[in-house]
């Protein structure tokens, strides 16, 4: 069966510091991968998605970036965090754009 992991589970970072969140999927090959952010009062927002290694589509312009160095690894990064980057970050996977399955999430607090 497929499983999806995210780490860290919780992160507290100062404004201006860098960020790296990791997501890995097990039990499937060539999944579509997604990063969502859930912020208070703003619902769930798709940030990036990837249909293959090195292929990243950005949905919302921001100071975040994503990379997919391996087939089942998806990384969310920032060079300098803003207060507005605080939120709950969710990674998800699907097979060819079908049903999406979510990971446990990373709660990020920027102070």
């Amino acid at each position: 069966s497929q499983t999806i992991h995210q780490w860290p589970a919780t992160l507290v970072q100062p404004v201006g510091s860098p960020l790296s969140l990791e997501c890995t999927v097990e039990g499937t090959s060539n999944p579509n991968l997604y990063w969502y952010r859930q912020a208070a009062g703003r619902g769930l927002q798709l940030l990036f998605y990837s249909v293959g290694i090195g292929q990243i589509s950005s949905e919302v312009p921001q100071n975040l970036s994503a990379s997919r160095p391996q087939d089942r690894q998806f990384i969310l990064s920032s060079k300098k965090l803003l207060l507005s980057d605080s939120g709950f970050y969710l990674c998800a996977w699907s097979v060819s754009g079908g049903t999406q399955y979510f990971g446990p999430g990373t709660r990020l607090l920027v102070l």
Binding site: Y34, G43, L44, E59, L90, S94, R107
Partner: protein
Amino acid sequence: AQSVTQLDSQVPVFEEAPVELRCNYSSSVSVYLFWYVQYPNQGLQLLLKYLSGSTLVESINGFEAEFNKSQTSFHLRKPSVHISDTAEYFCAVIAKAAGNKLTFGGGTRVLVKP
């Protein structure tokens, strides 16, 4: 583009009472529909989905939803709730053709009271 509206942001309900969570969507193309549940400090879990076929879909824990194309709705129901159903519920849609973007409603927080 698609949009999803969940009419109720919060629904308090007594244990063993029925509950209905309303979801309406707007889309210029055909969509698949989903309900996800989020327990406190956890990720989203797929509750049920409508892809095709029978318009009434059921989950293993007693929830059901009915796709109504004419009313563009996908309301979620449970005839008798448990304390453990306390969670936030999200309705979502995705375009059938080349769909990668799930569009979510704002969520409905269900609080089951003893």
